[in-house]
Every structure is written in structure tokens, then in C-alpha cells.
């Protein structure tokens, strides 16, 4: 699904002493099949922007079109929209509530009008996708699960509705390296299947470098750049100004360059870079 954002502006608590401009004149497009990274320092408006995509925040100024749905219209078909745009928040395990894992995972599908059998099938599929054994966990209380399992169950609860766009708001913050890895591999697996478009908010430039084909940079609610990760990490002015970091691959390339070893590759992911380095020394 294509998402078009045009001149979007948003102000929290307008006309009060707490007034806060969170977004200002944002324009960009997310194409079907994109994995878009949204980066920027804390408070730059990333979450506010993303919450627009499934109308958790209503458009104040400007326009957003998600597929065929115009979010700036007076009436928005919230069901269809939210069925299509899934959103995964930080600490998703805090949204578990039902008395069994199965009921919790089916909550979304049933809300979106799946029949009982469809919801059951969707729950099965989603739980397997996140690596949980359906028969083992389905009838357990979500609060009996271990921390990692709880998080997977909660993620399954979002995936079960088979969204065509998945928005992840800092999905890996606070996870250990292995947990991070698992989530991102899950996202990659998803992209191969149901979910065509993925939007990731992240502070981790390695993730952006490895998984995203496009990246937008926000600064104080303004769009600072709309580019590719490769180009972004060549723009030291932007990276330094917004206090982003470089991914490890870029750092390694620079360190090598300082020693006189120039790697002529735009590889941003670890495997490709190591292949390029190996190739350079073979030659």
C-alpha cells in the first residue's frame, strides 16, 4: 500500500500554555514494498507522525492518503484502515489482556470482522510465525508465559490481522542483541509474505542500514531528509547535526580508509561488507 503524506502539520494542546508543534509541513511518499526507516532524536516527532498512519491521531493540517483511504476526510473507515495498517508499539507485551493467548491473538481479527474459523486460522498462523507452538500456548494465560514469549504472543496479536502495512515504533529498544535480531528477522520474514510495506522507527543505525531501502530524517518536527541509507551516511552534515550515529559497517569502512585500505562498495550490511573486504584482499 502506498502512503502519501502532504504538508502534514500537528500541534499538541493548541492554544494553551502547553502548546507544542510536533510536526511541521511534512511531505513524503512511502511506496508499496518499501522498508522505510524513520530516524531523528527523541522528541523530533517520529511517533506523532506514525500514529497518523492508522488514525490514532487525526489529521489537523495537510493530507495523508493510505492506499485509497483519505485520512484527512471528515469520515474515515477506521476498521478497514486499522486492519490494513498494523502498529507495533514498544513493549507490546503490556497490551495483553485476555484469559488465554488464543483469545488475545484473535482480538484483532475478530474486531476486524474475521469469522470464528478465519480468526482461529489467523491466530495459528501468527503464533507459528513468531515461533510459538500453537498447541502449547493457545490455552495458556498470557501472564503465565515468560517475558520473551509474552512479547512474541503480543506481536502475534498484531500480525494476526494480516496488515499490509506494518508500523514498528522502536521495536527493539530495551531488548538484548539476540532479541533485537529475532524481531528484525521476523520483519524480514513478514516482508516476504503478507506485509508488503514496513515502517520502522529506530535509533539503531545498524538496523536502518541493514533493513531499510529508504529513510526519512526528522528534526524538531521538520523533514530534514528523504533519502536512502547509503546516501544518508555519506551526508556527514545531517548525521552529525541530528546526532545520529553511523552504522558499524560505515565506521569500519572509514577506519580501513584511514589505514589506506579503500573498500569500493556501498555495502551497509555486515555480510556484504565482509565479502567486499575479502574480495579486496583476494585481488
Amino acid at each position: 500500500m502506498r502512503i502519501e503524506v502532504k504538508e502534514l502539520g500537528f500541534v499538541y494542546s493548541p492554544k494553551s500554555p502547553f502548546e507544542k508543534v510536533a510536526l511541521d509541513d511534512i511531505t513524503f511518499t512511502v511506496n508499496e514494498g518499501d522498508t522505510l526507516g524513520i530516524v531523528g532524536s527523541t522528541g523530533s516527532g517520529k511517533s506523532t507522525l506514525c500514529r497518523h498512519f492508522n488514525a490514532l491521531i487525526r489529521v489537523q493540517r495537510g493530507e495523508i492518503t493510505v492506499g485509497e483511504i483519505r485520512l484527512h476526510a471528515k469520515k474515515v473507515d477506521l476498521k478497514t484502515l486499522r486492519k490494513n495498517v498494523g502498529m507495533l508499539f514498544q513493549f507490546p507485551e503490556y497490551q495483553l489482556f485476555a484469559d488465554t493467548v488464543k483469545k488475545d491473538v484473535e482480538f484483532g481479527p475478530l474486531n476486524f470482522g474475521f469469522s470464528a474459523e478465519e480468526a482461529d486460522a489467523a491466530a495459528r498462523e501468527a503464533l507459528e510465525l513468531v515461533g510459538l507452538d500453537f498447541d502449547e500456548v493457545a490455552s495458556k494465560s498470557p501472564f503465565e508465559l515468560s517475558g520473551g514469549q509474552m512479547r512474541r504472543a503480543a506481536i502475534a496479536g498484531v500480525l494476526a490481522s494480516r496488515p499490509s502495512v506494518l508500523v514498528l515504533d522502536e521495536p527493539t529498544a530495551g531488548l538484548d542483541p539476540r532479541g533485537k535480531r529475532e524481531i528484525l528477522e521476523l520483519v524480514t520474514a513478514l516482508k516476504a509474505g503478507v506485509t508488503g510495506t514496513v515502517i520502522i522507527i529506530s535509533h539503531n543505525m545498524d538496523e536502518i542500514a541493514e533493513f531499510c531501502n529508504r529513510v526519512v530524517v526528522l528534526e524538531n518536527g521538520k523533514l530534514l531528509a528523504d533519502t536512502t541509507p547509503d546516501e544518508l551516511f555519506n551526508r556527514s552534515d545531517i548525521v552529525e547535526r541530528t546526532e545520529l550515529d553511523y552504522p558499524h559497517t560505515v565506521k569500519i569502512k572509514r577506519l580501513l580508509a584511514e589505514k589506506g585500505v579503500f573498500i569500493d562498495s556501498s555495502a551497509l550490511n555486515a555480510d556484504e561488507l565482509s565479502a567486499a573486504i575479502a574480495g579486496r584482499f583476494k585481488a
Partner: protein
């Protein structure tokens, strides 16, 4: 979100905002007494003048203060109409069955409504200019003497301030959980009462789970830092009675004297003009 965390607090850099919360608490009580002292329209006018000048020195838009009346609009209408219809006056303007409207009734119900309005405006100024935390601290300090009759003043204050501290956190949490469930297609604002109550379960359950987790963590953190509610704890923010507070007290005292004087027609100290005289008398 932030609105809830600060109650009604309206941030501004003013005389009243900088006053000692204890002084403000005492002055609000004095103001309530003043509003109940007022007898005739001129003394009511003095009380009104007191509220207006307090609003001006607080640098709060007068409209903002007037808005607080909205909360009690039904009480006002109710009070006004009941007094108007059932006051036992003499100068009857219109009557039907047990009901009669009299001049005295009109005057009395006007006064009652005016008194309520003034009371709400005055007390609202306290919450507009003082953060809940400052109010709690002020109360603790003012209740200090109760310690001698074994009231656990400090414990009560700690419980109150922890509760206050957690209001914004909990409200943020409600926001987050609601968003997560809305994203999964939950609808909170349609259907009958029962359906709506049921729709809240996916919010309430995670909320309780997290509240208990937080309480646990907080208890652990307090223990880990060897917290105990010793009576002689010092504070980071010291409350200090300053010249500002003296001025505030003097100003309020002046208004109380004025109200009493107007109530008593200045003890006949001067001969008022005829129309003003009428106001003195009712």
C-alpha cells in the same frame, strides 16, 4: 496528558504563582469566610473586586477563571430557581398555588448564585497558581501540629504525593494501552452502556497489571535506598514565607475589613447617595 498531570495548574510567572503555598491555602480559607460574611450587594461587590484583583496579579486570563463556573452550572441554576420560587418574601410580584415570586426572593437568589460563583472563582485561583505537589507540601506543613495528637501527617503526605506523582504516569499508560488496542480494532465509543463497559476490559486489565508491577518496583526502589518516613527529613524545595506573602495577607485582610464595613454601612460614618443607599439595605 500534561493537562491531567498538573491538575488545573496554569503556568505563569506571577506574584501569586511565587507565593508560599501555605500562605495561599490560608488565604483561600480567609476568602471563603469573606464570601460568607458578605451581606448586601456592595459587600458582594467588594468580594468580586477581591477575586478580580487576585486574578489580575496571577496573570491568568479572566475568561479562564470564568470557565471554572461551567463545572457547577447545574448547581447554580438549581439554587437560583429554588430560592427564587420558594423564598418567603413580602413584596409579591407573581404567585400561583404555593409558589410566589417576590422581590426579596429575587434578591436572595441572586446573592446565593453570586456567592457560589465567587467561591468557585476564588478557589480555582489556588489550583491555577499552585501545583498539586506544592499544595500537598503546604498542607503537610500546615497540618504539622496534628502530629501531637498522633495523626501520621508525614505518612499521609507521602501517600498523597506518591499518588499525585503517579497520576500522569498512569494517564500516559492509559493513553498507550488504548492506542495499542485501538490499533487492534477496539472501539471505545459506540454501543450501549454494557458494550462500552466491556470494551474497557482490554484497557483495564493491562492497566492493573502494570499498576501492580509499578507499585512493586517502587516499593523495591524505596527499600533499596533505605527509605523510611522519618519525621526530620529535609526537603529539596524549601517553602519560605516572604514579603510577597505578607503583602498577600495584608491585601486579603483589607478586603475582609472592607466587606465588614460595607455590611455595616460604615457604621453610619457618612451619608450615601440615595441609589447606593438602596444597595446597602438589601
Amino acid at each position: 496528558m500534561k493537562d491531567i498531570s498538573l491538575g488545573q495548574f496554569y503556568p505563569a510567572d506571577s506574584f501569586t504563582h511565587k507565593m508560599d503555598p501555605r500562605a495561599k491555602l490560608v488565604l483561600v480559607v480567609a476568602f471563603i469566610v469573606m464570601a460568607f460574611l458578605a451581606k448586601n450587594f456592595l459587600s458582594y461587590f467588594a468580594v468580586m473586586l477581591c477575586v478580580i484583583s487576585a486574578t489580575l496579579v496571577s496573570r491568568i486570563p479572566i475568561l479562564k477563571v470564568l470557565k471554572s463556573i461551567k463545572a457547577i452550572i447545574f448547581i447554580l441554576i438549581f439554587t437560583g430557581i429554588l430560592n427564587l420560587l420558594f423564598y418567603n418574601g413580602e413584596t409579591v410580584l407573581w404567585s400561583w398555588w404555593q409558589i410566589k415570586i417576590t422581590v426579596e426572593g429575587i434578591i436572595f437568589s441572586l446573592k446565593m448564585v453570586l456567592r457560589l460563583v465567587l467561591l468557585v472563582m476564588g478557589t480555582t485561583l489556588l489550583t491555577y497558581t499552585t501545583t498539586p505537589t506544592a499544595i500537598t507540601d503546604g498542607m503537610e506543613s500546615l497540618m504539622h501540629p496534628l502530629k501531637y495528637i498522633k495523626v501520621p501527617v508525614h505518612d499521609i503526605a507521602v501517600i498523597m504525593s506518591i499518588a499525585l506523582r503517579f497520576i500522569p504516569i498512569i494517564s500516559e499508560e492509559v493513553d498507550k494501552i488504548m492506542m495499542a488496542q485501538k490499533a487492534r480494532g477496539a472501539a471505545f465509543d459506540n454501543g450501549g452502556l454494557l458494550k462500552r463497559a466491556k470494551a474497557l476490559l482490554p484497557v483495564l486489565i493491562p492497566l492493573f497489571v502494570s499498576a501492580f508491577r509499578r507499585a512493586d518496583e517502587l516499593a523495591l526502589a524505596l527499600d533499596a535506598r533505605c527509605y523510611n518516613a522519618t519525621p526530620n527529613r529535609t526537603r529539596y524545595k524549601q517553602m519560605k514565607f516572604s514579603l510577597r506573602d505578607v503583602l498577600g495577607v495584608l491585601g486579603t485582610a483589607a478586603f475582609i475589613v472592607l466587606v465588614v464595613a460595607l455590611n455595616n454601612n460604615f457604621w453610619g460614618a457618612y451619608e450615601p447617595v440615595a441609589s447606593v443607599w438602596w444597595l446597602f439595605s438589601v
